[in-house]
């Protein structure tokens, strides 16, 4: 135990915590969007993230020709390559999410099965996807080339703003704001909110339920794919089971903020990222997963509606 780091490295830890937390936020949005419309925990979301990380590996190695000794990309070429890799990750995760819904949930829903059946189906999809990835990659870790040199842009109060950290901060916040706007201002977004309040009444408004559900999975998948890109840019390695710990943390973040609530996912993710980083600094990084579980259990025990639980209905306004 080393509590002195909390004071000596406070701002540095805060920065790492927030940037880790923002990756959780984007994955948590995948859980929370789907929960909002279907009242279903999409356990396969962690594998939707995993698919995104592999997409980043394939995209970045493909785009740079896998030449380790080639000149590092610079300027506009670098931005385009990173942007394209991010789009490919978002597309891969979005597509996977939509397919998961069609394959694993849609027919159960049409048959009027209960939620437990969908939940089991979700766990089944999660296992199937991660096992498939395990077979395809021989369970070996996969790395993407380092396109972005992790140079420091400057230091504030001991917190080192590296290029990749800043990329995470900016990209994640922009993605979140875009989603918030989409859900609150667009026609489809309003339909998503209507379905989340009452499926039956949304149908009476002429809302095509299946289409709205598909869009919800697509958008949740796109957010998760963006998270996968940012994760790979910072950590540069993935494995078939990468979704397990990241997914669990993001799910905890969603529950912490109040599942079904977009802004709850945002604050829940950041809070969890900070807690996890601080506890790892104090207790040692082997305690990271324990922190996540303890937070999850405590929230479920003390505030099952999450920090922003009571405000869910209001926040959807």
């Amino acid at each position: 135990m080393n509590f002195s780091v909390l004071t000596s490295q406070f701002w540095s830890l805060m920065l790492s915590g927030i940037s880790l937390g923002l990756i959780y936020v984007l994955i948590a949005l995948g859980y929370t969007m789907v929960y909002g419309v279907l009242r279903l925990i999409n356990f396969a979301n962690s594998e939707i993230f995993m698919v995104g990380t592999f997409a980043v590996v394939f995209a970045e190695t493909g785009l740079t020709g896998n030449a380790l000794d080639s000149e590092p990309l610079k300027g506009i070429q670098l931005i385009l390559t990173l942007g394209l890799a991010m789009l490919i990750a978002m597309a891969a995760s979005g597509f996977t999410a939509v397919m998961v819904e069609i394959l694993a949930y849609r027919r159960l829903r049409a048959r009027g099965s209960n939620r437990l059946a969908s939940l089991i189906s979700a766990i089944g999809m999660s296992i199937a996807l991660s096992e498939a990835a395990s077979v395809l990659t021989h369970a070996r870790p996969q790395s993407n080339p380092r396109l972005l040199e992790k140079t420091s842009l400057g230091e504030i109060a001991g917190a080192n703003f590296r290029v990749d950290t800043v990329l995470v901060l900016v990209a994640a916040i922009v993605m979140f704001l875009l989603l918030d706007r989409f859900v609150n201002k667009t026609r489809v977004g309003i339909a998503i909110r209507a379905v989340s309040m009452s499926e039956e009444n949304a149908k009476l408004m002429g809302v095509n339920l299946n289409r709205v559900i598909s869009v919800t999975f697509l958008v949740g998948g796109i957010m998760t794919g963006a998270a996968a890109f940012l994760f790979m840019t910072v950590y540069e390695t993935t494995k078939f089971n990468v979704g397990f710990s990241l997914g669990l943390a993001a799910f905890t973040a969603a529950v912490l903020g109040g599942i079904g609530n977009l802004r709850g996912a945002f604050w829940g993710g950041i809070t969890l990222g900070i807690l996890e980083t601080m506890s790892a600094a104090v207790l040692g990084s082997q305690w990271k997963a324990v922190t996540v579980f303890v937070v999850l259990v405590l929230v479920l025990l003390v505030r099952p509606n999450g920090l922003f639980g009571e405000a869910v209905q209001q926040a959807r306004a």
Binding site: M197, N201, M205
Partner: protein
């Protein structure tokens, strides 16, 4: 734009809620379904809107069989409903609630203003409350919003499920007055489900009496108002009632 229900059967699980009813709503009419709780009135409206599946029998609208059509397509065809309990989206503003009433009309932008004005003209209260969350309205205001929202879709047939439920007498009179206005001024055909048989029969042209999933009487509304059986059972003023 005739709505015709023929020998309709609807189940909830194994329980048969609608046991072969036939109802016709002609263009321009106000038709009311009256009956006690559990008679199948709400189920009939839900089935017309496509929220409950048809077990057997048919629903035709303007000559087209819509029995198997998805709910959202029926709205596009011109059948809108203000459901039982109003079905307001509580976290959305009054304006957003009205806007979503036009959800399926993709060309809605230029029509939106016009239709909002039409609804605000009928229910000036909604204009005052436009930016307030739907969930914070009083019962009567929520009912206005539910009817206004259904009208945003420019329906040919408007289905109203218990619009007077839980409202104060003044508000009930107001809502029924507006229902008549919608019928006469906008020319909208109305199928009205009500427990308040007195008001419903005064406003409607024709009426059906439902009992446990069957139609037991069908007549001009004014005739039913004077029918001794109906008075005894639903108006509480019949010869047998003390």
């Amino acid at each position: 734009m005739r709505l015709e229900i023929k020998d309709l059967h609807v189940f909830y699980g194994k329980i048969e809620a609608i046991k072969g009813i036939s109802v016709v709503v002609n263009p321009g009419e106000i038709v009311t379904l009256i009956g006690a709780n559990g008679a199948g009135k709400t189920t009939t409206l839900k089935t017309i809107s496509g929220l409950r599946p048809v077990a057997s029998g048919s629903i035709t609208f303007d000559g087209q069989d819509i029995s198997k059509m998805p709910a959202h397509d029926r709205v596009a065809l011109g059948i809108s409903q203000a459901p039982e309990g109003r079905g307001i989206f509580p976290g959305m503003s009054v304006l957003e609630n009205l806007e979503i009433g036009k959800y399926f009309r993709k060309d809605r932008k230029h029509e939106m203003k016009e239709d909002l004005e039409k609804v605000y003209h009928l229910f000036p209260r909604l204009k005052e409350r436009a930016f307030q969350a739907g969930g914070t309205l009083s019962g009567g205001e929520q009912q206005m919003l539910a009817i206004g929202r259904a009208l945003m879709a420019r329906p040919k047939v408007l289905l109203l499920d218990e619009p007077s439920m839980g409202l104060a007498p003044m508000m009930i009179a107001n809502i029924f007055k507006i229902i008549t206005e919608i019928n006469t001024e906008l020319g909208t055909t109305i199928l009205l489900v009500e427990q308040n048989a007195q008001q419903a029969l005064q406003r409607a042209h024709r009426a059906y009496v439902l009992e446990t999933g069957h139609v037991v009487k069908e007549a001009k509304a004014s005739d039913l108002l004077n029918d001794p059986d109906v008075r005894a059972a639903y108006l509480g003023t019949g010869a047998g009632a003390h």
